[in-house]
Structures are given as C-alpha cells and as structure tokens.
Symmetry: C2
Subunit: 134 residues, 2 copies
C-alpha cells in the first residue's frame, strides 16, 4: 500500500517552492539542475491535477448513459440533442446551451475539431442534471 501520487522528490520540491525558494535554490539543496527541478515541479502539479479530476469523476459516478454524439456532428447541435434526450428522461440539465458547449470544450478538447465533433462522444447524465462526457 503506497502513499499518494507524489514521489518524495515531488513533495520535496513543492514544499520548498511553497516556502518561496527559487528553482535554482532548490536545485542546489537537493543536488540537481534547475531544469530538473522545473520538470519535477511540473509533473507534480500535473499529478495534482489528475488527482482532482479523478475525484471529480467519482462524484459523477452515479450518472447514467444518455446518448452518443457521433463523429462529424456539428458542435452547435449537441446541446439540443442533449436537452431532448434529458427531457425524455424527465431530468432538467443544469447547463444552458453555451454552458454545455463550454463544459464539453473543457472536458474533451481533443475530441473536437473547430466546430465539429472529431471522435464520437459518450454523454452521461445525473439525476441532478449534472452532465459529463467521455
């Protein structure tokens, strides 16, 4: 049973950073280059981001499959489709049209190509009206 996501090195760097040290100072303390301190710090923060996203997923775990947005669909037609499917299940989506598009943009930027859906997207819906994509 290991600890959290962060390695000893990563925790060390984050803590020193929080104390206000520069990367060069930290490099001297732990005996490596400032470039290395930079990459360690970067991957540490990336790990923290992933930890957040993981818990976010757990919160929305009780969502159910709503529909699939096929590849090639116009991005602007996605919200209407979601609203229609959701109302068919008696759930009110907690986002408006713009909100949904933003949420999608944040959630799966790599599935989008300018105004179109490049790769098919699975849409999930909560009883609360919370939506997420995969």
């Amino acid at each position: 049973m290991k600890d959290g996501l962060l390695t000893d090195r990563q925790r060390e760097v984050l803590r020193h950073r929080r104390q206000g040290l520069t990367q060069q100072q930290i490099a001297d303390i732990i005996g490596t280059s400032k470039a290395n301190v930079c990459t360690i710090e970067k991957s540490a923060l990336e790990n923290v981001r992933r930890a957040r996203e993981t818990l976010q997923f757990m919160y929305t775990l009780d969502a159910r499959f709503l529909c699939e947005i096929p590849s090639g669909e116009d991005l602007l037609s996605v919200p209407d489709r979601i609203f229609r499917e959701a109302s068919g299940r008696g759930v009110k989506v907690r986002y408006d049209t713009i909100g949904l598009i933003n949420r999608l943009r944040e959630s799966l930027p790599e599935h989008l190509q300018s105004r179109f859906v490049k790769d098919a997207i699975q849409v999930y819906l909560n009883d609360d009206g919370e939506v997420y994509f995969e």
Copy 2:
C-alpha cells in the same frame, strides 16, 4: 495531457459496479474473467485512495518541519515531544494526546510496531496547529 488517474477499463468497471452489476456480469460484458474484474476494481479504488491522499497533502503543504521522531521511540511519548516543540514556536496543536496518537496511527500505520516507532517519522506543523507525518 492525460485525463485522470483511472484507465478506461477502471472507469468502465466502477460505473457498471455502481449500477449494481456483479463482477461476473461485468466480466461477460467487457469480455474477461471475473478475477480480472476484481483486480481492475481493486486497483481503481486504490487509485481513488491515492488521489484523496494527494489532495490531502496539498492542503497541508504550507506546514513547516517541526521535528523528527527517531526509530525506537515510545509511541506514548510522541505527543509530549510534539507539544513541546510546537509551543516553542508559539503554535497550539489542534489535537490532544489521544488525538495525536490516532492521527499518527491513521497516517503512518506501517511506521509503527505496537507501542513503538519502528521507522523514523518526520513531523510537520501548520500555523493553524494542523499536524501531519511523513
């Protein structure tokens, strides 16, 4: 830039699980053995645990090093040592003796051996009086 900690497989299993399916049913759906579903679910939950612990660490990041508890120390003498060090820095620890021992037990069970400290422990303290161990 990858997503969260969980793999596709792990998310799939967790979601099916939340829907109330048995491991065997999931195994049939995703085309593998129930033993494998068990393993996947287990490592998924382990990842969630690590995500929690990681964010926990971030919350206590602004703590400063307080002292080291050397290997072999009696567990019951740990709180007094911490109280003394903390008051030397003008900070009031937000736990009592029993609270500290419990916190230590939860935080680093593998460093303890019945009534004694097996492996040396680093103690960190917040301005708030929050304590954590490493």
